[in-house]
């Protein structure tokens, strides 16, 4: 009797173990037959309203369902989408767009001039408090329907208008859905895929839109999932639980090369990582100290060991993919002796103590800086914070940071891809001091401010180019940031999936994906 209990138990256990792989295969076969593409990212989407979020990965989830007036093509250039043609006046402040006729939202509402104008007016309405509106309000003064088209009036000429309109935040949403207030939870756009379900904590599912105006998608459905565990992402693409994982942690990229089942997408990124130094706190108010920290940073070693080679050391506040990036900027070579000499000159020969606020995913970078800077006598305390706490600390005003003794913050910025202005004025313009903007170290240079204002309002690329080269030089010399590196945008994609590409910054474009 005694032995029988255990035996029966073993039989049952054995059955479970034996049938599990079978169930497994059945489940997979079913998924594959449905021509569904499974995409796994590192975080859940923040909203189904494209205007009410500023997260690259959320934009990726939304992009198959929404369209803007313009869109980026595979060469990362803006082209027609819901707008078929456009023109601007000589001053560059009036833009009018012709709309594609006969397009309907997924809920049946016609996508006409009124709908498009209403979609942008949401950004201009300060009462709405939509997360991405600041970027549009800085540029657009007014938008209105004009016959079958829409007309934008800008505050000042804006050369990157077409690129700004191609971003996910500028997507056109159904005015009907917007009025009911459900847009944050249920997406309603005009895109080739339409929203099916957002299962809390599990997935977002989208299906092909049979009424799409353009080329019908090859896949029947898309399923977006997420995990915060890098190891799990890597496992998921190996088991086929995910066809695409994005972003792929660089540690796993090297291994994929030897995998015939899985391919690596490796694109030049646009996110520039930096440590923003609080220029109002001693001794960081001394430019020599800031330069010393730059010389004490071994970017090549960072890239080689912690990013496994999948990054480019930063020599400029712009990323190489950004317009007007200047490859000839010398940046700061690794030179600890020079760093020590500069610290001596600045009157801190024995070094000093400081801290850096960092979010968990980048704490390894901060930990490496801790080791490097210790070699020149700078003791760096790493304050590893949850993202919400980090945001509050990093975006404090000068008084708050002085009180809390916050010396620096490690982060990145990636919108230089839209236009260099989107990288320069937010990060280095004196009007964008935290908490208003992301100039976290309260850097101020009047020459630079004037130069940036002029460059942003100049339409002619040939005239803008030298201005931005000059701006890059000023920022490198003044060293308000310790510029670190620009990571590659990495994604792992199973080999039978084709037609997937990425925008600089890591936003996936999967609308035209197909299975081989």
């Amino acid at each position: 009797m005694r032995t029988e209990i255990t035996r029966a138990d073993f039989v049952r256990l054995g059955l479970a173990v034996a049938t599990a792989p079978l169930l497994q295969r059945v489940a997979r076969a079913a998924a594959a037959a449905a021509a569904e593409l499974a995409i796994m990212q590192t975080e859940a989407p923040r909203s189904m309203d494209p205007a009410d979020q500023t997260a690259t990965l959320t934009s990726g989830v939304l992009s198959p369902m929404y369209e803007g007036l313009t869109k980026f093509d595979e060469n990362r250039q803006p082209g027609p989408s819901l707008a078929t043609a456009w023109k601007t006046d000589d001053a560059g402040t009036n833009w009018s767009f012709d709309l594609r006729p006969g397009v309907k939202f997924h809920d049946g509402t016609p996508c006409d001039a009124d709908a498009v104008a209403a979609s942008f007016q949401r950004h201009l309405d300060t009462q709405r408090g939509l997360a991405s509106s600041g970027r549009f309000r800085a540029v657009i003064a007014d938008v209105r329907a004009n016959g079958a088209g829409v007309v934008f009036t800008l505050k000042s000429p804006y050369p990157a208008m077409l690129r700004l309109l191609a971003t996910a935040n500028a997507s056109v949403v159904s005015p009907t859905a917007d009025k009911t207030g459900t847009l944050g939870r249920k997406a309603v756009g005009t895109g080739p895929f339409r929203f099916v379900e957002w299962a809390s904590g599990q997935y977002v599912r989208q299906e092909a839109n049979p009424d799409y105006w353009g080329a019908k998608p090859s896949l029947a459905a898309l399923k977006w999932t997420w995990t915060a565990e890098p190891g799990v992402m890597n496992m998921a693409v190996h088991t086929g639980d995910a066809d695409i994982v994005n972003p792929l942690p660089p540690a796993f990229a090297g291994q994929l090369k030897s995998q015939w089942k899985i391919g690596l997408q490796n694109h030049d990124g646009s996110a520039v990582y930096w440590v923003s130094l609080n220029t109002q706190m001693k001794p960081l108010d001394d430019v020599r100290v800031r330069q010393a920290l730059n010389y004490a940073t071994d970017r090549a070693a960072l890239v080689r060991s912690l990013l496994f080679g999948y990054a480019t050391p930063a020599n400029s506040p712009l990323a190489p993919v950004d317009l007007f990036y200047d490859a000839s900027q010398p940046g700061y070579p690794y030179d600890p002796d020079k760093a020590k000499a500069l610290l001596r000159e600045a009157g801190v020969p024995d070094g000093f103590s400081m801290n850096v606020a960092v979010q968990a995913p980048q704490s390894n970078i901060a930990e490496a800086l801790q080791g490097m800077w210790a070699n020149v006598g700078v003791k760096l305390d790493v304050l590893r914070m949850e993202s919400g706490v980090w945001v509050q600390a990093a975006f404090g005003d000068p008084e708050q940071k002085a009180k809390q003794g916050l010396f620096s913050a490690l982060a990145s910025w990636s919108t230089g891809f839209i236009d260099p202005d989107q990288q320069f004025r937010p990060l280095y313009g004196s009007k964008n001091w935290s908490p208003t903007g992301p100039n976290l170290g309260f850097y101020k240079n009047d020459t630079l401010d004037a130069l940036l204002d002029r460059a942003a309002a100049t339409m002619d690329p040939a005239q803008r180019q030298p201005m931005y080269v000059q701006a890059q030089k000023i920022v490198v010399d003044d060293a308000p940031h310790v510029l670190l590196y620009i990571p590659k945008d990495l994604a792992a994609i199973r080999s039978d999936v084709q037609g997937v590409w990425m925008l600089p910054g890591g936003q996936l474009i999967v609308s035209s994906a197909r299975r081989a």
Binding site: R46, S200, Q202, G231, A236, V389
Partner: protein, 305 residues
Amino acid sequence: MGRYVGRKLLALPLVLLGVSFLVFGAIRLLPGDPARIMAGDQATGEAIAGMRHRLGLDKPFLLQYGLFLTQAAQGDFGISIRSKQPVLSEVTRRFPYTVALASSAYGFAIVIGTVAGVVAAVRGGWVDHLVMAMTILAASTANFWLALVGMMVFAVELDWLPLLGAGSPAHYVLPTAALGLLPTAIIARMTRSGMLDALRQDHVRTARAKGLRETVVTLRHALRNALIPIVTIVGLNFGGLLGGAVVTETVFNWPGIGSLLVDSVRDRDYPMIEALVLLSVFSVVIVNLIADAAIALLDPRLRLG
């Protein structure tokens, strides 16, 4: 017994009230600003102020608490900041997954733990040594790491089991093992010592003397006595199990309330954290109550209080 349970039931609202005030206060002490988080890293100050107003976070603390209590009493826990869904519907959608995983883990623990404990106690010798060594080892390993290794071996290398999520029964195997391991070890140890005690006791000896078959003796009498510590442990350990579920669900992308809690704390989703902590406290109290009642049923001599 009826009086005891009644008293506990009456006390329940008071405990929940105390807990709700603690949680509500603590959450508002949390550094980090949900408005900032929702607006995103690259948002402007103006957008954040707008967001804060939209979320009702610009009201005074006591007013917020008062509103919370009156609404909670009517079953309305507010709107989740992150998902923009009513908290209650979100929680009711995800709670069953945690209940299912917890039951599965406890089921696993009770079956395997009891069998191992009985076998160890009855067989003795090297079997006993082996079982005890394994239980101690199981209680000494960090479960998240074991879970990751388990995924790597059984889902990736061997491809026997699904990696993530909660679909088929096969999806339960790895999370159940990861979550159930510690209670299995504890129950095995409790069962073993309970059995050993019971086997020494008079009524078992008497039963044996009466000529009943040994296995019947073992199972009916001894196991019945050993059940008391098992039920006690299930009650006492339930809080620990819920805590373990937080970690296990995070690793396996299990759509229960444990992973929801981690996300909600990270996003400072105030209404969601409040509801989840209250729910977990509520379940701990209820499970303990049931365990107490079960013990009283198993052994009427046991005085409670």
